[in-house]
């Protein structure tokens, strides 16, 4: 049992990977079911919940294959990974339940398992090159998911996404090569002292290249345009995955890289703050003038990741924790909003232009309630979880001395109120009541029920959740 615990990080990557052949072999004849994929997630979540106690005690550090870092690859399972992986597991499970098209469902689930494995690896790894491999697995799965809608917009979006993503990947590769050249190690744990001892501009430039690559992947200014394109070209389920799972995984990796290089983070703080502030402003202002639901949500994501980055760049432990907390909450609520968007399609309306969106007759009240709750959470209106996470972000950012940033976050909520209200009014009083042909009515309850319920329920425990995040960040910073 003890050896199973120390091997837990590897298992958390390998079990979803094993899900790929499992899915294949269980469904070779006839059409597949969602059961194997759900079983994989269930196993992972069970493992996670049984090991929270051990992770609370101390991070579980594993040397993959029995080779200590520098010789082999180190993996670390800590509270940061637990928190993020619980959130991504929830979103992946929702996505499996949400995907009800029979054609290509098997392909979709396979990609989902690969995305799950890749994002778990990203959040666990302590080795820079291993992180690169998992970045590529996660990214290729994301590109493929965007393209899997198999239509004009899908391919175009996927190509743009691949171009931006590959460029970011190459930046990361260059950065890893430069760091290895100057510090002689790929292990994040032992990077800091060697990084500080290294001379010249190369180490700092290499680390900056890695961070820049991750910021491109997160869609921060000035590389934010692809995000709206790729999210609006994908189906709603895929958009939910991209804004929930992929973003969270990259953010966790960014946190790990930043905390592995404390001296660099300190000197880069003004740059990161500027990028974050610009992302907040650009994201909200662009969201204000978007004509389509998915593009609006995508630009809002740019702003919200900016909140997280702003809190993280202030450097204070509680502020980093608040930023992490907000990113995790944002992943849940943004993916729920995207899952909610799937219901527009059940009315037979293929477009998601704001003046044309309408919920289907069935369960309309429930849908509208869900939208209102989620929008309140996104804007930051009490009593939902989005309010508390944003409140903490404002409070801690101000406490860390970033008063302008705190004001920006608060003002962002005011702008968000305008555009979410615009969508809300349209949904309550549809402008186009007569639709040419009502689409296939969905008999299922809307998937985002789970996410919304979570946002309502967890709001009660928000101070405890923040304390958990603080503990996670303390663990992260102590490990270095």
């Amino acid at each position: 049992m003890n050896s199973l615990l120390t091997e837990l990080p590897v298992l958390l990557i390998v079990i979803p990977l094993a899900g790929v052949p499992l899915l294949y072999f269980t469904t070779r004849s006839g059409r597949g079911t969602a059961l194997p994929a759900l079983a994989v997630i269930l196993v992972v979540v069970t493992l996670l919940s049984f090991s929270i106690r051990d992770a609370m005690h101390a991070p579980v550090v594993t040397a993959a294959g029995g080779w200590q870092p520098d010789l082999g690859i180190g993996l670390q399972f800590d509270l940061l990974a637990v928190a993020a992986m619980l959130v991504t597991s929830l979103i992946v499970a929702q996505a499996i339940l949400s995907h009800d098209e029979t054609s290509g469902a098997q392909h979709f689930r396979t990609l989902l398992m690969l995305l799950y494995a890749g994002s778990n690896g990203l959040m666990l790894t302590q080795d820079l090159f291993n992180a690169y491999v998992f970045i590529e697995i996660t990214s290729i799965a994301s590109y493929a998911l965007v393209a899997s809608r198999q239509d004009k917009g899908g391919f175009e979006s996927a190509f743009k996404y691949v171009v931006m993503g590959s460029f970011a990947g190459l930046l990361v590769l260059w950065g890893i090569a430069g760091l290895y050249l100057t510090t002689g190690t790929l292990d994040m744990q032992s990077l800091a002292p060697r990084f500080d001892a290294a001379q010249g501009a190369v180490p700092a430039l290499s680390a900056a290249a890695i961070i820049a690559g991750l910021l491109i992947k997160l869609g921060q200014v000035p590389f934010h345009a692809w995000k709206a394109d790729s999210l609006s070209g994908a189906s709603y389920t895929v958009s939910a995955l991209l804004s929930g799972v992929t973003t969270t995984a990259f953010f966790v990796l960014l946190l790990r890289v930043l905390s592995a290089l404390p001296s660099l983070t300190l000197s880069l703080a003004p740059v990161l703050t500027t990028i974050a502030s610009l992302s907040i402003i650009t994201g909200h202002l662009m969201a204000l003038r978007q004509p389509r639901y998915s593009r609006l949500l995508a630009y809002s994501s740019v702003a919200h990741i900016g909140y997280g980055l702003l809190a993280v760049s202030s450097g204070a432990v509680t502020a980093i924790a608040a930023g992490l907390f907000h990113i995790l909450v944002h992943a849940i609520m943004k993916s729920s909003l995207f899952f909610l968007g799937r219901s527009f399609l059940h009315t037979g309306n293929r477009s998601d232009r704001l003046e044309a969106i309408v919920f289907p007759e069935q369960y309309r009240k429930l849908h509208v309630t869900l939208y209102v709750l989620l929008a309140m959470s996104m804007i930051g209106i009490p009593p939902v979880l989005g309010f508390t996470s944003k409140w903490y972000a404002v409070l801690e950012t101000a406490r860390a001395g970033y008063h302008t940033g705190a004001v920006l976050i608060a003002l962002g909520g005011a702008v968000a109120l305008v555009y979410y209200l615009r969508v809300g009014i349209q949904l309550v009083h549809p402008g186009l009541p007569e639709l040419s042909s009502p689409g296939p009515a969905s008999r299922r309850l809307p998937v985002p029920l789970a996410g919304t319920a979570l946002i309502l329920l967890l709001a009660v425990f928000s101070d405890r959740l923040l304390a958990f995040c603080v503990q996670a960040v303390v663990q992260l910073l102590e490990a270095v």
């Binding site: 290729i140 239509d151 190509f159 590769l173 260059w174 290895y180």
Partner: protein, 113 residues
């Protein structure tokens, strides 16, 4: 001397690749530019491993000095991942061409905007 020459070549190749990526609008040529960029990174990785007067990492005698094998392994992984990405990009290009009838990115809707 060898190290400096190849190091500068890496940087020049990166410059050429980025130039091509910014200037060229034919999608297949953009993928070619990605391959140039990736080749520059591979050359850089192998260069990191290089030591003058060292032997290749195929071990013969215990007393030999060998070049670092780790960057070679990283380069191999990067080559395979790069080839996969190239295949994926080319498939997408073929599909974009099918649906849009063009292979020029500036003819796609709101490209770079």
């Amino acid at each position: 001397m060898i190290v400096l020459t190849i190091g500068i070549t890496c940087i020049v190749l990166t410059g050429i690749g980025i130039y091509g990526l910014l200037r060229r609008t034919h999608m297949i040529r953009m993928v070619l530019c990605f391959n140039i960029l990736e080749a520059a990174a591979l050359l850089g990785l192998v260069l990191i491993a290089y030591r003058p007067d060292a032997r290749s990492p195929i071990l013969r005698a215990a007393t030999d000095v060998h070049v670092l094998p780790l960057p070679h392994a990283l380069a191999l992984t990067a080559i395979v991942i790069g080839a996969s990405l190239t295949a994926l990009m080319l498939t997408l290009i073929v599909r974009v061409h099918r649906s849009h009838g063009t292979v020029l990115v500036d003819k796609l809707k709101d490209w770079r905007g």
